[in-house]
Amino acid sequence: MTGTHLGMPAFPAVAPAFPAAAREAVRDEVLRANLRHATHTIRDKRRRAVAELADWDRLRAAGKAVKDHTLRHLDRYLLQLDAAVTAAGGTVHWAADADEANRIVTDLVRATGEREVVKVKSMATQEIGLNEALEEAGIAAYETDLAELIVQLGHDRPSHILVPAIHRNRAEIRDIFRAEMGGWGRPAPEPLGDDPRELAEAARLHLREKFLRAKVAVSGANFMVAETGTMVVFESEGNGRMCLTLPETLISVVGIEKVVPTFRDLEIFLQTLPRSSTAERMNPYTTMWTGTTDGDGPSAFHLVLLDNGRTDTLADPTGRQALRCIRCSACLNVCPVYERAGGHAYGSVYPGPIGAILSPQLRGTGSAIDASLPYASTLCGACYEVCPVAIDIPEVLVHLRERVAQGGPVTRGGVRVTLRPADGRTAERAAMRAARLLLDRPGALRAAERLLARARRLAPRTLPGAGRGWTDSRELPTVAAESFRDWWARERSDPR
């Protein structure tokens, strides 16, 4: 064990805006080929898996309604969940932000006297940077999902919600395993080929010793049931089952929006999540547990309920639908922007279309990356189409663009504040004001159109001044010799 480079390198505090990051990514030919292959494979499989269910649209509507209903009464369901988990032998903690959640988990691990934890893939713990916080406290956190292991060993960042190492091909993964496994525990077998079967076997051997000796595990959860206190984790590899059943202490960090009212509600998501996510009828393993069970599984269970910007998101009537998200990643796989830019350009653990509406709401639009994310889309609507809980991502994107460009009231840290218009959007606002002036005055519009038509030979290829940024990546349309309105008037007055 080297003791260095534990934890996943966090997303930089000052991430470049999306266009700059994306420009880098699209130059990477290997990355683009990896992403294209992966997203096309999974989107075709998903289409077939969804087509098997004649009632897909009804399941989608029901899933949306369950989530909306829960959010509408979120305080009540969280209190019910708290009581049910406690009654079943668990301990519930509430964390207002990332720092508080990290402190709670660190203290819980310290109290066990252990210096290492095994982890089930969890978006919430990545969001709060738990691995880095544990590392600072001298606690090693081992990711056990194969893709997370690849990312962790490669000192890399996740680029996809479901398949965090989607940007790596098999040869790159073999090289990472060979170079890094020995520093973390059992080295990769030699010789090691790049067949996925061989690589999976290497991961099995490497992680086995960690599972068998682990005393503490950290997980997230896909769902929490308020009426029973039941936690649900969907997975494929069995690393989840290992972490959820072998250790003595289990700590689950879960966003407050993951609660559903009843055990029966799971009948919807057990059908829609696997098909949307891995494009299977059912994922290989799903574990459901309620508190602790005598003689079976961990004897101590801690649930850390995480806010970290979720209540701020809830305060926005248009934006709150992002909290319906069940993290299936179907929207990433169909997105033309994600396919080309890759996950890292989004500067967050939540990439793709859902990340473009979730990150600026959870973190606010104060940074360059968060202010640019609502623009990281062509608004084609494919994401909305495939979303199993019908999040209208384009609607929220447009809403957030308006917020960035015009400012307005938002909630940050539970406090209502008024956002000022973003810098650099002045030209856009001036253009919009000019357009309104013209469109409100038909006479002025006609005069402007004629003037433009007469001067069409002088039209530049790129716009000057503030407009240059826009024409850097776009062709200016050619100006017609005659305006539509003049053409219409002429055609109508000249009957054949």
Binding site: D82, I173, A203, T245, P284, G297, G414
Partner: protein, 210 residues
């Protein structure tokens, strides 16, 4: 103020716009098709096989020799046995039985070759078997650590069509494990590989009247 109160306060303030109440439409299907019991069992077998579980069919008389054969073909020297497994399922003179004990360490269980269990129920439409820690299934870890799991499903009694039919039959206070084929990963180029950490071989025995 505790964080709990702070978060609950934020939620209540966030919901001041008083969005309309939402009714959950439950008009989705209870099952995707109507099947005879035999068709239901056939569908389960087909879907299990599609996700690379190995499916066998037998009756009460044929069960012990079948299990003996499966263990022998595997070369198993030891087999984990939950406390409530019908004793006659295990062949005489077969591999050493290892009882499911609270005191066993994970490392000890790692040295056992196979595990033999029953199940709580099976879901035909998704090719899933569900374990609930009942007497013929044992602790969750015994079906996780050995590399070879033989699971007996009583057909057609234990088979339901769909997920909506399965949930009312399960007790959420028990630890539940839903298993659909052996463990798998698609993390490398989305190429599916069967067998990572859980049992790499899952054999499902459909036990009925032949």
């Amino acid at each position: 103020m505790s964080s709990k109160d702070r978060i609950l306060g934020r939620i209540r303030r966030a919901l001041r716009d008083d969005a309309p109440a939402v009714e959950v439409p439950r008009d989705y299907l209870h099952a995707h098709g109507s099947r005879t019991p035999a068709e239901r069992v056939d569908l389960l077998a087909a879907h299990l096989a599609e996700y690379r579980a190995v499916v066998h069919r037998t009756d009460e008389a044929g069960l012990p020799p079948l299990i003996a054969r499966l263990l022998a073909e595997r070369g198993a020297r030891s087999v984990l046995v939950p406390p409530g497994l019908p004793p006659h399922w295990l062949p005489a003179g077969g591999p050493t039985s290892v009882p499911d004990r609270a005191g066993s360490t994970p490392a000890e269980l790692d040295r056992v070759d196979s595990v033999l269990t029953g199940c709580a129920l099976a879901v035909a439409e998704t090719g899933t078997i569900v374990l609930d820690g009942g007497p013929d299934q044992g602790r969750r870890r015994i079906t996780l650590i050995p590399d070879h799991h033989i699971c007996v499903v009583r057909v057609p009694d234990q088979v339901v069509d769909s997920v909506p039919q399965a949930l009312p039959l399960l007790d959420p206070t028990r630890p539940l494990t839903w298993i659909s084929g052996p463990s798998a990963t698609s993390d490398i180029e989305l190429d599916r590989v069967e067998g990572v950490h859980g049992p790499r071989t899952l054999e499902v025995v459909l036990l009925g009247t032949q």
